[in-house]
């Protein structure tokens, strides 16, 4: 069964809100969980093949050596009349942030399908509304993973972002969002329906920790990360922005091997394989 397609058996035989006794046989969960969930079970041998990862950011430089080919790229812009339109992206990356994130995902999941949705770069003003529309568009496309190394501090968008995050969660689109390491309220990383990511200081790209004291749920590599940079260059950078695509890449590896996982199950696998839980073997 392809990702993001509802299981017809479950959908046809089950009412939406309750489970009659006769239907209980039809609610079988297709994932076969081993006695112990290991990293080998979770993503051993996986290169992320076929998983669709969306970089919701500043665009992605086409054919950067660390990024390779994109499977699609669009840009959202605000027209003079205030309408936000989605068009094919012909400019690439305006500041380098999205290219850096895409390179990290590619380094972990070399066979994933990368898509760029540019919501940054057309000016700071109005960027919250464009971010919201971009996320809505990305969820509608049914991407498996959406990397959000960004946030908004505008409370007026918090409610709508929360609804979108929940909607993505139920439609099997995993949102992976950068946490803030500053004492500010920002969104969407604070919502429990997303996978929120902060940084640890270790060098291993597959080392990640579960945080039993949220709102930040996972810590991934975010210090001195080798980063794809504009013009085909590479630099070293630090920030939660770069820890986030590490988790997106690991999600892509797991989903390629276990496409039937729901975001809830995926998060459970991440917990069980975290370096401070069962991930050190």
């Amino acid at each position: 069964m392809a990702r993001n397609e509802p299981d017809p058996q479950v959908d046809e035989n089950l009412p939406a809100w309750s489970l009659p006794a006769a239907a209980s046989e039809n609610i079988g969960v297709t994932v076969e969980w081993p006695e112990r969930v290991t990293r080998e079970w979770a993503w051993g041998g996986s290169a992320g093949a076929g998983v669709q990862v969306c970089i919701l950011d500043s665009g992605v430089e086409p054919d950067h050596p660390l990024v390779g080919a994109l499977d699609g790229a669009v840009a959202l812009t605000k027209q003079e009349d205030g309408e936000i339109v989605v068009e094919d992206d012909v400019e690439g990356d305006l500041c380098g942030h999205g290219t850096g994130c895409a390179g990290i995902v590619r380094s972990l999941a070399p066979e994933c399908r990368l898509f760029s949705v540019r919501v940054l770069g057309a000016g700071f003003k109005g960027s919250g509304a464009i971010l919201l529309e971009g996320l809505k568009w990305a969820i509608a496309q049914g991407f498996d993973v959406v990397n959000m190394s960004l946030s908004t501090t505008k409370r007026q968008f918090a409610g709508l972002l929360h609804e979108l995050a929940d909607s993505a969660y139920f439609k099997r689109t995993v949102l992976v969002a950068s946490a803030h390491n500053m004492p500010v309220e920002s969104y969407p990383w604070r919502f429990s329906s997303v996978i929120s990511v902060g940084s640890h200081e270790e060098d291993d790209p597959q080392t990640f920790y579960y945080n039993p004291a949220p709102p930040v749920e996972f810590f991934a590599r975010g210090v001195n990360v080798p980063l794809a940079w504009l013009g085909g260059e590479t630099i070293a950078a630090t920030g939660n922005s770069f820890a986030t695509p590490h988790m997106s890449g690991i999600c892509a590896l797991i989903l390629a091997k276990h496409p039937e996982l729901t975001p809830f199950q995926l998060k459970s696998v991440l917990y069980l394989t975290a370096s401070n839980v069962g991930g050190r073997e």
Partner: protein, 217 residues
């Protein structure tokens, strides 16, 4: 108090606040530079009306002549920090001629390494604080990042006060006859007893709330 006196008094207060807040910003970049033993530190403010970043203060290397210079709000490293609201540290920049040129244009100095953090106050992203070429004898850690964040909070509070002072001054300068209305209201208020004054103050507070509602988006 006559209308002219009121305007002069308020203007003087605002002017004084501007000077004090400039000194506070300067102090923040000096201390940020000192704490990280850095070659330079600088602050950019986001001008919401023109959607540009404005160079506000610098300590150490770099040109004070650049103060007041304006740059597009969403390009370059400062731009990406502003729009993503995420701090960023970059090392080994010297090898990238594009970055070197860009940075030189906006800071008057070409760094090897750069720490950049958004200045966030309540819901608003006010600008960006940069620390250029911190001492390299200690390896960068997340503790440095946290310290930078604490400084950024302090700078954001100062920037917020500065912006409010500027706004008040521009309102007064541009109001012309409108300032007379404000003066008459103030004068009438002074003539009221406590019981009469209370509902008027409530009305003015409500008006104040409306005027300060954030409608930038």
């Amino acid at each position: 108090m006559t209308d002219n006196n009121l305007q002069a008094a308020v203007s003087a207060g605002v002017m004084s606040a501007e000077d004090e807040h400039r000194a506070l910003l300067q102090s923040i970049v000096e201390v940020a530079r000192s704490i990280f033993s850095a070659k330079a530190s600088s602050i950019f403010l986001h001008d919401e009306d023109t959607d540009e970043l404005v160079f506000e203060a610098v300590a150490g290397e770099g040109s004070e002549n650049l103060i007041g210079e304006r740059f597009p709000s969403s390009t370059g490293v400062a731009g990406w920090v502003l729009v993503t609201r995420q701090p960023l540290v970059i090392e080994d920049l010297a090898s990238d001629p594009r970055f070197a040129r860009e940075t030189a244009e906006v800071t008057g100095y070409v760094p090897r390494a750069m720490m950049s953090v958004p200045l966030l106050h309540e819901e608003r992203a006010l600008g960006v604080l940069n620390v250029l070429d911190r001492a390299q004898d200690v390896q960068f850690s997340l503790g440095h990042m946290e310290l930078l964040g604490l400084f950024a909070n302090q700078a954001a509070i100062a920037l917020d006060l500065l912006q409010r002072a500027r706004h008040a001054r521009s309102v007064l300068a541009g109001s012309g006859g409108d300032a007379a209305v404000i003066a008459r209201i103030a004068s009438a208020l002074e003539g009221l007893d406590e019981e009469q004054r209370e509902p008027v103050l409530r009305l003015l507070a409500a008006l104040d709330d409306v005027l300060h509602a954030d409608m930038s988006f």
